[in-house]
Subunit: 192 residues, 2 copies
DNA sequence: CGCATACCATACGCGAAAGTATGGTATCGT
DNA sequence: ACGATACCATACTTTCGCGTATGGTATGCG
């Protein structure tokens, strides 16, 4: 039973390391995830790390899976709870447009799609979200053929925007411009 | 005068290294660009490399700038040569949809947006292309506000699709499905 | 003919980060 | 009270890829 009151003091748990790893990834990218650096940031040394994890890859894997589990749930469930199908897509666009932290991690992982451990996670997440969009578009009245393509287009636009906005600094929009952009995408991509 | 008949044989030129670097980047990503590996692939050793380039970064920089110079020119110039502005956007979509090699490099660089040398190059390229799209949309009749947002949306969709298709293997479309997708994006994103 | 230049091979130095070995301290259960 | 367990520090070894040093060969030029 690993239930030994970790709230007590000073001691770090496995989850603490995973959270810290995600934090570091969000800020400095996957490439910057080094064990000595992370340990320093947590005020400890490697000795601590290698007690919790067998290897560096293990930490990355754990952090990614953690993000994959807890990163989506909320929004998608809230959207599915909306009774009127016609209202789901607009609400989804709005909600997504307000997140930040989640997008930071997502953008950081997109930049690191090179990494063999990151790629499959992103593939799964993207597949699920595209499926979700597909369903939403069908419910909004599009045909099967239209819905799947529109879902791909929409999600591609989302992914691409993260790159352009966060990583590349293109479209460095202020709040007003950003709102206008979101409005434009909704008008363009959501069937009336 | 660096004109010493390099055609002779066996000897490599600076451009040969740059091309080989781009080839390797297209296939295995920026992270795999190591000098010893590249040298092996060219049938020589490091000794040769460090005669042509002072450092590994220098090669990457040269390869990136080379790609930046020669990668775009063709298509954009061809599009601008089209007399009727209304026809430019459809033609652009079609032409882009047929490229391959260019997209492979572009996708590989997108995966490596982490890298400090890659990022500014991609930022410049993306900015120019977005500007180009913006102009095209204006000529197609959109208002200034609409054109800029539609340009962002279109280019974001392009970037995102490369990620989903090439890197993540989502939307693993065959030719027929791909054509249908392109057609859908044109109908959705190009003003009638 | 012979030297200079261009191109390449071989062998080594070196720094950064991963992983290992080992020992120290605090806390908890009994 | 005391031993076991959980957590962490320190010092070390290993690996990998960059860069350097230096010497070898071929080709064009005077």
């Amino acid at each position: 039973m690993k239930q030994h009151h970790k709230l007590a003091r000073g001691h770090l748990s496995t989850e603490d390391w995973e959270e810290a790893a995600l934090e570091l990834i969000a800020n400095q990218g996957v490439g910057a995830l080094a064990v000595e650096a992370l340990a320093r940031q947590l005020g400890v040394t490697k000795g601590s790390f290698y007690w919790h994890f067998s290897t560096r890859q293990a930490l990355l894997q754990a952090a990614l899976e953690r993000w994959e589990r807890y990163g989506e749930r909320e929004i998608l469930e809230q959207i599915e709870a909306i009774p009127c199908p016609q209202q789901r897509l607009p609400e989804l666009f709005h909600r997504v447009a307000q997140e930040l932290r989640t997008h930071q991690v997502y953008a950081a992982l997109l930049k690191a799609l090179d990494h063999p451990q990151v790629m499959p996670v992103m593939a799964r997440v993207s597949q699920r979200r595209t499926d979700f969009l597909n369903k939403a578009y069908r419910e909004a009245g599009l045909s099967a053929a239209e819905a799947i393509n529109r879902a791909r287009l929409t999600y591609a636009a989302y992914v691409g925007f993260l790159q352009l906005h966060f990583t590349l600094g293109i479209a460095h929009l202020n709040q007003k411009e950003f709102d206008a952009y979101v409005e434009h995408t909704m008008v363009t991509l959501i069937p009336s």
